[in-house]
């Protein structure tokens, strides 16, 4: 697990709320919840979250997120909060089996500026995901950290 890994945890006292917590390595908490607003999600974006439930949070620069993908697939709009340990784990967490998509590798990205995003449980999966708002371009927000092959 990457030393800067952060994972999402449901806040039991607040329905449909999520928080990004520091990993067990004790690194500083670089993610904070926020009341900053974003437009409500509709259609397929909303349906990508379990029961359409998500929270809006401002993630701080330095937050590390992941994408399970095929080699050469490139950055997308959805990111994983937890680093999958294997291809099977990635599928279980993030419900990836779609058209040509797969999970040959896990790519680690670091957020380069504080950014407000949508956070919630993956529809049909057991993991939590982060969605970049549609008016932002993910390639402008994240820097590539590394890529590892998944078995």
């Amino acid at each position: 697990m990457c030393a800067n890994a952060y994972r999402l945890a449901r806040l039991p006292e607040a329905s449909a709320a999520f928080a990004l917590d520091a990993g067990e390595d004790g690194a500083a908490n670089v993610a904070v919840t926020s009341t900053a607003g974003l437009p409500a999600l509709t259609g397929t974006l909303e349906s990508s979250f379990q029961d359409g439930a998500y929270a809006v949070q401002t993630l701080k620069a330095g937050t590390v997120l992941y994408r399970a993908e095929n080699v050469g697939q490139g950055i997308g709009r959805f990111f994983a909060a937890t680093k999958p340990a294997s291809a099977a784990d990635a599928e279980k967490l993030y419900n990836l089996a779609k058209w040509r998509n797969g999970s040959e590798v896990v790519t680690t990205y670091r957020l380069t500026s504080d950014t407000t995003m949508y956070v919630g449980r993956v529809a049909g999966g057991e993991g939590d995901q982060v969605l970049v708002p549609t008016d932002l371009q993910p390639q402008d927000l994240f820097e590539f950290v590394d890529q590892e092959r998944l078995s």
Binding site: G43, T44, S48, F78, L96, K98, Q139
Partner: protein
Amino acid sequence: MTPDDLVPMVRELVEFLSETGYEPEGRWLEERLVVLEDPHSSADAVEHVRAEMHASILGMGGLIDLVPKPEQGSTWSVAEAGKRLLVLADRLYLLTEPSRTD
């Protein structure tokens, strides 16, 4: 919007994907379009293709995960292409819902 809209809608999506840097995804859809357009395709084959399309849309790795990259000189701006992708994805999702029948 009716189920009959599915074929022209998928055609439009294939064209859009090829114009915005996602030819492989467009080809994947085009292969399934052949099944939808073939009058000899069985009901099971058509239903299978619709289910595949429906499952290709949401979340990481799905259609709406794509970040359109219009070529220089394209009629699409990056922002407009992003909005158009979502419109097309929403339509495809509705048109391929399991409850729908042709």
